[in-house]
């Protein structure tokens, strides 16, 4: 028994049937996702159980969980995690403070507010690479703007990135400069959602400024602040571009974040399997953080309803 529709139009008509249109439209995206993301993810997971080196022709040998053992007992890995933690915590803290203060400023009406707000939001729109290059030039000891300004007070050239502490501070400032506007946007959204009549009621109640902030303003921005902290922590945890451009992990290994170390292991030392194992370790931490984030997003959504 011949189906008239399919025999008449052939394969083209069969494919363009409205029933299949949805599937047809998502297929390219699914294919790309599979080839670019899912396949490498699974492949690298497989690799993490072998002793594969991308630079060598040898046939890889199965090593079981040895790579994971190596990563967990590698002192360097723990040092890099420490460096990452220091950069993440100080950068996120700085972003919170600056973002919060900016939000308080922009919650008020003042002349040219919209234009200034747009300018303040610009860093967040820039690419990591340009931010990295900006700050590398700012910190440059001979002609950089930081050194130039400090030279007015001291006669010696100022080498910002010369010491481990200076390098970390330099990276934290660059990252916080880029992402404080993001925190500001979130906090600002909370601030403008506070109904004005609550502040008036508080005035009638003779409440102090501090009490008004605590009982009215803070509850409205609390959950958004938590979101900002988690989101920025996840992002900064993976920080690579800015560090790689500004310091390349130096001096020594003092600013080498876990992402930079991972890159080095994989593409400079070509310990492909071991780096896959480390990558899975990092992925695990990010998944934990992301779940915390999603949990608080859901809680926020419930609160708003």
């Amino acid at each position: 028994m011949a189906d008239t529709a399919s025999t008449k139009g052939g394969f083209g008509a069969w494919l363009l049937d409205p029933k299949r249109r949805g599937a047809l439209l998502v297929t390219p995206a699914i294919l790309i996702l599979f080839v670019m993301n899912i396949f490498p993810l699974l492949w690298s997971f497989g690799l993490s159980f072998f002793n594969y080196k991308a630079s060598s022709q040898r046939v890889p040998r199965f090593k079981g969980l040895d790579n994971y053992g190596d990563v967990l007992t590698d002192e360097k890995v723990w040092e890099r995690f420490q460096t990452t933690a220091i950069i993440v915590s100080s950068s996120v803290l700085l972003q919170l403070i600056v973002g919060f203060l900016l939000a308080l400023l922009f919650a008020k009406a003042f002349p040219m507010r919209r234009i200034v707000l747009m300018l303040v939001l610009t860093p967040m729109m820039l690419s990591f690479v340009s931010v990295g290059v900006f700050f590398k030039l700012f910190y440059e000891p001979t002609f950089g703007v930081v050194s130039y300004v400090l030279n007015m007070f001291t006669s010696e050239p100022f080498v910002m990135l010369g010491s481990p502490q200076g390098a970390i501070i330099g990276i934290v400032i660059a990252d916080a400069w880029m992402w404080s506007p993001f925190v500001m946007l979130l906090v600002l959204a909370g601030l403008v959602s506070v109904p004005k009549y609550l502040y008036e009621a508080a005035e009638i109640d003779r409440a102090s400024k501090w009490r008004t902030f605590r009982t009215i303003t803070f509850p409205y921005i609390k959950s958004l602040l938590l979101l900002a902290v988690l989101f920025r922590t996840i992002e900064t945890f993976k920080l690579f571009d800015i560090v790689y451009i500004i310091t390349e992990g130096g001096p020594g290994s003092s600013t080498e974040t876990i992402a930079v170390y991972l890159y080095r292991t994989a593409f400079q030392f070509f310990k492909t399997s071991q780096s896959s194992a480390l990558a899975y370790f990092v992925l695990f931490i990010v998944i934990v953080l992301t779940n915390l984030y999603l949990y608080s997003v859901n809680r926020r959504a419930e609160e708003v309803n």
Binding site: Y197, E200, A201, A202, I204, D205, R206, R211, P219, Y220
Partner: protein, 359 residues
Amino acid sequence: MSELKVNNLRRTYGKVLALDGMSFDVADGEFFCLLGPSSSGKTTTLRAISGLEELEHGSVHFAGRDVTESAVQGRGISMIFQTFALYPHLSVEANLAHPLRRSGESASDIKKRVGEVAELLRVTHTLKRKPTTLSGGEQQRVAIGRAIVGRPKLLLLDEPLTNLDAKLRDEMRTEFKRLHRELGMTMLYATPDQIEALTMGDRVGVIREGKVVAIGTPRDLYGAPTNTYVAGMIGSPPINFVTATAPSDGEIALPFLDQPVEAPGVSSGQPLVVGLRPHDIALANGEEGGIPAKIHLTEPLGDVTIIDIRTRDTDMKMVLREEVAARFRVGDEIAVKFDPRNLHFFDPSTGARAAHAAT
């Protein structure tokens, strides 16, 4: 003594004149109602008295002190907002305690005072809950509690019943009267609803476009309205207006009557607006004759029915008790009468009261 003197307030928003010489006095312990339609300046007046609104002109004196420039916190005045404005993240208990936090009272005193107020307003069972979980009436009671917990000398109420349903409104009206009697506090109550103003106010100030057009007891305002605006604002269903002229001194010809009626003080040829309240029109029985009228609409309210009648091209409303109204259908011919002493006369150009037949 906590008397309030509001003198010549003026406030504009852009080009809109919100307050245009608002003046009135409220005596110590009085329940004073401001009655006016929306955007007539009621809310702005209350906000100016509380200090939330800045004024361009005018002064506010409270308890013998000029508070025009005082901060909100220093005035000893409390306010209930139309939206209730309860703090959504605090429990009812913390909401009620909020105004006491600055007074330096001990925690146990605060707790005791909150307990008293909760008892007074019958919200004790809700103390641990968040305001959003309460019913409208409970939220309203908590808002009242928060406003009175600090023992203010003056309580401002900005349309506090507007957000409640009709049944709750009736209950809360009684509640406000009870509170006023029990606390002896001076209250200034803004409302667009004439029933609220008449039932609760010791005196009522009728406002229009940012100024007071009449002040008086509810009885005075209903019985002898000083102008057409007040006459139209007060009374439900609203007063009937007809235009008329005086054929000779002391007499007036109404469009639906063959004979002119007596109107002392009216001079010949004077045009007038005549007001007649629906409650002052009655059915005429057979022997009296009466004015022939035709029923063209009925609105039963349960105990009474509002009847729209037409008599010689003039439409009017009258009110009949339900059992009487039940005898009639739309389209029926009836005969009505009224006592000429109940007519109100107004000047058509100014709207001011011209003369009264009864005086």
